[in-house]
Amino acid sequence: MSDRDSKTEYKSAERIAFDHYLRTGRILSSPTPLERKFNPYHDPRNGQFTFAPGGPRSLANVAISRQKRSLVGEHKLSNNIGRAAGNASSATQSIPPPGMPEAVYRPDENRADFQLTQYKPNPRARVGGNGGPPLNDPMTLERVFPGISAARGGSMLSLADNIFDLTGPSNRLTLSLMTDHVNLIIEQIRKIDPQYKLNTLGFPSTIEGLENLTSTWRLDRASAFYLARNEIRPLQVEVLRFLQEKTDIEYAKSVKLFNDGKLVPRFSREEAIGNQVDRAVRFELRKLYQGLDIATNANGPIRIIGREYDTSGSDKSYRIPDARIANIAFDVSLTKKTLGTAQIRGFFNADFSPDAVVIVRPRQLGVNSTYIITRPRK
């Protein structure tokens, strides 16, 4: 089959009618649904060639794929074979394969039992009836930065691929996957907080709207974990997501303003842009914590731009990370910082003794822009 044929095969009746309209300027009154004869000699589930059902060879040497056996079930299959044997006398009659009752394929139908022949199930998909393949929904930094638990002290680890990308699966599937995912999040929140109320007027119909809503509910889930169970790790992940998103947005705005001559630097371009991004992101974080009812202060585990003292030496010194959540410090920065940077060493030497420092940089600066530095071992 040529490439051209394979493309036309997937055109819907509406698409064909629209093509016709583009070519001729005439609207087809009622586009007849396209029908294509399905080749019954192929297993509809995996596209592999098989023997014609009902034919003599199909009974002589029945070949049934393991996948089909598991999908249909031994009992049902044996019934089908039995029926086929009964009809073997009439050679013209054949039993359509399961899920293909008329042996006719209608491209405009979206039937769940049709699968592309090249379809292969994702071997990494979670097993169990939890709504399909996993979306990127890590709840601990160990999953955001793979390998962190086994990393040597002072290691720098970058984010897992597409950790913030919820649109990994094909667009056709994304909306339904996300809808399932949102329902799962709401269920998780209500397990922790039965009084939880959704602050939304309705369910969005676009992927963008659903993404925004999903982000908000993930934050609600993290907040519920923290406030009700004192489990702070999901909050570390969600705040990192939030910081990354806001850093990217504010950086883009800042660069645009500078290029338009609306951002006047006091010292340099980098200083002007970096300073604006830092301050804007910190203010966004304050609004976020207020919206989540999470207190930030020097005595609690969550702080924004607080002095973190190092009282170990004779001179009391301090460093100021942009944010801190329990044993993790966050620093929004345009420049790459390492353990060789005095500021980072200062964070690790501070009394709150962080296990790691997360450097959040705009993703526009390139791959691996955001990374984590683990605590150096002595």
């Binding site: 709207g209 982000s215 604006q276 304050r286």
Partner: protein, 112 residues
């Protein structure tokens, strides 16, 4: 999350952060990410003026009055140029710089 309510800064440092955010998000101050639905010029000037009121004693009456005057002027500029294409946006951002200078000077005076 709770329905959006503006965050009122508590000290000079937090007002500086708010002004930094205003610089980038002027003149409409609307949220395009869905976290803070309902955020707009009204809510953010409420936050700014509330924050100024919180530091009134710290900065002194004269500086406070100057800051409030500039804040009102800034809002007028931004409201006059909602698409940020004319002089309003530029003038409004100049007001932000003026406020920052006053706040930095006040913080320095206090630390001496």
């Amino acid at each position: 999350m709770k329905p959006y309510a503006p965050y009122i800064p508590l000290n000079i440092s937090e007002i500086m952060d708010l002004l930094g955010w205003m610089m980038l998000n002027a003149p409409k101050f609307e949220d395009d990410t869905g976290y803070f639905a309902g955020q707009n010029i009204e809510t953010e000037f409420l936050a700014l003026n509330g924050g100024l009121s919180n530091i009134r004693k710290k900065v002194g009456e004269e500086a406070y009055q100057a800051l409030i005057t500039i804040s009102d002027k800034m809002r007028e500029h931004f409201e006059a140029d909602p698409d940020d294409v004319g002089a309003g946006g530029r003038e409004g951002r100049t007001c932000i710089r003026e406020m920052e200078d006053i706040l930095i000077a006040s913080a320095r005076r206090k630390s001496r």
